[in-house]
């Protein structure tokens, strides 16, 4: 069968790139494909153009679902697609969502392709290479320690049913030698370089739950990308209001403080960490700072600029600042940064107004290959 989808596909791509039909730009949205990474669901960007209709607001009214959970349990997803009645049975394809675990390498590859990210040129001794085994295949022979439990039992069950030895009353499954399946490894070569990400976040009163969710999602992708580039990536977390302190990952996204904002406190703590553990000669250092752009005073901002200029930039690969728009933030800090460093490509800033901007922002941060 000859199907002419190519024309439609290239037409769509041209529209997305803004080459034709520019009036459609405002209907463009960042759709997503959902994959899994461990227990987390992750989304892969997918450009979409919506044709507007008269529709009921999906955030109003109630939908119906099926499953466990008490009243108040979040159900995940953006709820746009409630399964009740939309879509077309029959000519709707018999689609199957596969439960696939993606590893960091695969995710990063997809990400690089979608966002057209360049490879990073790392500092340090990159000639040293390190082969690391990855278990991706299945074989019928191998050491017991690598036996694939599920595949082995599945094979045994298959054999017992087809040979008629499976007893439905006493459902015992006993694998024999031929049933056994083993994981097989393949070596993957990685350059041996070291890197650390130091996340800093403003947790003063003006940063709300939504702002933190944006930071959480964005940092997931930053982690993923850098983890694929460097073996042994470390992450550190600093929160600050008027004072800064180090916290663990969970606390970082959950903590809520009130009170003022003194940004330089975070930068000082960050520098102290670098001093103590990460020698700039052998470490790639990535400081990311997220805030809504308010600082206590102009003089503190001056101090921050000085710290970036004289200390952070000499020690780190680059300095990254992400400004998450909030109702209360003035956004002044971003202006101050760009005024001072507009000529310096080692200071990379990004403005994130909503969840839709996350991919754009990742691209801004990582697109320069620092």
């Amino acid at each position: 069968m000859f199907v002419k989808i190519d024309q439609d596909e290239s037409r769509f791509k041209q529209i997305v790139r803004g080459k034709i039909r520019k009036e459609l730009k405002k209907f463009m949205s960042q759709g997503e494909l959902i994959g899994r990474q461990g227990k987390d669901l992750v989304s892969i960007p997918l450009p979409q153009i919506d044709i507007p209709h008269f529709v009921r607001d999906p955030r109003k009214g109630n939908g119906v679902g099926q499953g466990e959970g008490d009243v108040g349990t979040p159900i995940g997803g953006d709820g746009d697609q409630d399964g009740s009645g939309q879509g077309k049975a029959g000519s709707d394809p018999g689609e199957h969502y596969l439960e696939v675990e993606m590893n960091y390498e695969e995710l990063a590859e997809i990400m690089a392709e979608e966002l057209e990210l360049p490879k990073i040129q790392p500092k340090g001794n990159s000639n040293l290479e390190n082969a690391k085994p990855r278990y991706t295949g299945i074989n019928t022979a191998g050491p017991e320690s690598l036996r694939h439990f599920k595949r082995t039992y599945r094979q045994a069950l298959k054999r017992q049913i087809s040979s008629g030895t499976y007893d439905f009353e006493k459902p015992f499954i006993v694998p024999i030698r031929e049933d056994k399946r083993y994981r097989v490894s393949h070596p993957v070569i990685q350059p041996q370089t070291r890197a650390v990400i130091i996340y800093m976040m403003d947790v003063s009163g003006s940063m709300g739950a939504e702002q933190k969710e944006i930071v959480r999602r964005e940092s997931f992708w930053l982690d993923t990308w850098l983890r694929a580039q460097y073996k042994g990536l470390e992450t550190r977390f600093i929160v600050h209001d008027a004072v800064a302190r180090e916290v663990d990952r969970e606390t970082f996204y959950r903590i809520r403080e009130s009170g003022g904002t003194i940004i330089s406190s975070a930068y000082k703590l960050c520098l102290q960490m670098i001093e103590e553990k990460y020698d700039p000669a052998s470490w790639n250092i990535y400081p990311f700072h997220f805030s809504d752009g308010d600082n206590w005073s102009g003089s503190d901002t001056q101090e921050c600029l000085k710290l970036i200029q004289e200390d952070l930039l000499t020690k780190c690969n680059a300095f990254f600042y992400g400004q998450v728009e909030s109702e209360y933030g003035s956004g002044q800090f971003l202006r101050d940064l760009t005024d001072k460093f507009s000529a310096d490509d080692r200071v990379i800033t990004s403005k994130i107004s909503s969840r839709d901007d996350i991919y754009k922002s990742i691209k801004e941060f990582l697109g320069k290959g620092k």
């Binding site: 439609d8 529709v55 009921r56 009214g61 679902g65 099926q66 499953g67 399964g83 969710e213």
Partner: protein, 468 residues
């Protein structure tokens, strides 16, 4: 039934076209294709089969399916085909739709060659923006063409004068007293006046109203009628999603487990079937809900668990073991697949026990936490939320109420508000598209945050006014 075996790239493309390989060119098919093929390439989802409502039915199978999967999906699509052919809501659909789609393609390609893609494509977008404005109550009946409607209306032309009773001349003023005649004449005049309301009755088939009355060029008329034809063709599938998938799943399971499966295939079959009917977190899986409901109905009618006696019984234990050995289950489910759609199906057969067994819940958007959360598990609330979501396929109900507003040829639509507001930004853009077709100013009456609003667009400026 005709089966075609396709490779993954072909099946993804056909899926992007909604099952028809010969659709007219449009970027949205390319967008669908990107999503489907990327999702496949990254290993997130896979299309096993597709079937289209046509005579004969066409089914597409994925070349790389395992043999047992191939048998399963063939059994499944026979279920769909049976549903298409026998469910009353499909009675009016075009059974030569493959040819019709090819015809649509030819017409659109001809227009593109003549006028240019840059003229035709934006107009298609405009029409697509309005494609859900059809009358879902008409589904199941062949929509009347404008010509047929005209003929119908001509036959209905009323006499304009009061019919007098026969009488001798000298008796006339007694048999037909003047006061009575005047009263009757007034009634007729009022009727006439109502006639002059335009449209006479509110019209839910907004697309038809536009085709008949909007100042469209011939080619625009052609494009809009293509969009409307396709919308009516697909509508019954949206109206019977749960039943249709449930019916197909019920039958593939019957056929496979009682007739087709070899012993060695049972595990792979079970694995695949479980994947199909697995409830997705927080979603309603139509396969799951449908098959469970059909099985529940079969069981209840086999055991006689229905009717006044059963309802009146308040001994829980007796109810649980109720079995009158009627054996009517099979007959009943075949009757159900013939005359119900999803809304009536759920309304009639979704019982409180079923709702609890299936762990159904109602969810809503919590503006504090900015996420969707479980709100309630009460049967009545769950059922009413479900039915209200599904009424009119979850689409807002919108009617043309006046095609000559303020006697200036302006168009007024009315949104039948049912507790859920319209998505405001989209409503504005859609109204602009409507104006592009109507040319004169257009209005939409609706309700926002419990206050009546009138949205207007005159070609330059969008207005959102409060009205009483």
């Amino acid at each position: 039934m005709i089966f075609e075996v396709l490779d993954w790239n072909q099946i993804n493309a056909v899926a992007a076209y909604g099952g028809f390989p010969n659709r007219y060119p449009h970027w949205r098919f390319g967008m669908e294709y990107q999503e489907i093929s990327k999702s496949y390439a990254y290993g997130l989802s896979k299309i096993y089969e597709m079937v289209i409502n046509n005579d004969p039915s066409y089914a597409y199978l994925l070349h790389s399916n395992m043999e047992v999967d191939q048998k399963l999906v063939m059994a499944h699509v026979y279920g769909h085909s049976d549903f298409f052919k026998n469910n009353v809501y499909f009675a009016g659909t075009n059974r030569k739709m493959i040819d019709q789609m090819g015809n649509h393609r030819t017409r659109v390609v001809r227009l593109i060659n003549k006028l240019g893609l840059d003229i035709v494509e934006p107009f298609i977008d405009t029409c697509l923006s309005l494609e859900n404005l059809i009358d879902s109550r008409k589904v199941g009946f062949t929509p009347k063409t404008p010509q047929e409607r005209e003929d119908l209306e001509e036959n209905n032309e009323d006499e304009k004068l009061v019919k007098k009773l026969k009488s001798k001349d000298y008796m006339d003023k007694f048999v037909n007293p003047k006061a009575f005649l005047d009263q009757q004449q007034k009634k007729i005049d009022d009727d006439e006046k109502r006639h002059r309301n335009f449209p006479e009755h509110p019209e839910r088939d907004v697309l038809l109203f536009l085709l008949e009355h909007a100042p469209l060029e011939k080619w625009e008329h052609d494009v809009l009628s293509i969009i409307r034809d396709e919308a009516y063709y697909f509508a019954p599938q949206a109206q019977t999603k749960i039943m249709n998938e449930g019916w197909a799943a019920y039958h593939h399971s019957q056929m496979m487990t009682t007739k087709i499966l070899k012993d060695s295939e049972i595990i792979d079959y079970a694995d695949h079937h479980a994947g199909t009917v697995a409830p997705q977190p927080g979603r309603l899986n139509p396969y799951k809900l449908g098959i469970e409901l059909f099985r529940d109905i079969e069981d209840r009618w086999n055991k006689g668990k229905f009717g006044a006696d059963y309802e009146a019984c308040d001994d829980l234990k007796e109810k649980k073991h109720w079995d009158k050995k009627l054996g009517l289950g099979r007959e009943k489910i075949f009757e159900v697949r013939k005359i119900y759609n999803d809304v009536t199906f759920l309304d009639a057969f979704l019982t409180e026990d079923f709702c609890h067994d299936q762990k159904m819940f109602m969810y809503g958007f919590n503006t504090m936490t900015r996420q969707y959360e479980i709100v309630d598990r009460d049967f009545r609330k769950v059922k009413s939320a479900l039915l209200s979501r599904m009424t009119n396929q979850g689409q807002a109900i919108i009617e043309v109420v006046d095609g000559n507003s303020s006697n200036r040829g302006e168009l007024t639509l009315k949104h039948m508000h049912d507790g859920v507001d319209l998505k405001l930004d989209w409503a504005e853009e859609t109204l602009k598209n409507l104006q592009r077709i109507w040319k004169r100013p257009v209005h939409l009456e609706t309700v926002m945050d419990e206050g009546k609003r009138l949205f207007s667009y005159d070609g330059k400026e969008f207005k959102n006014q409060s009205i009483s």
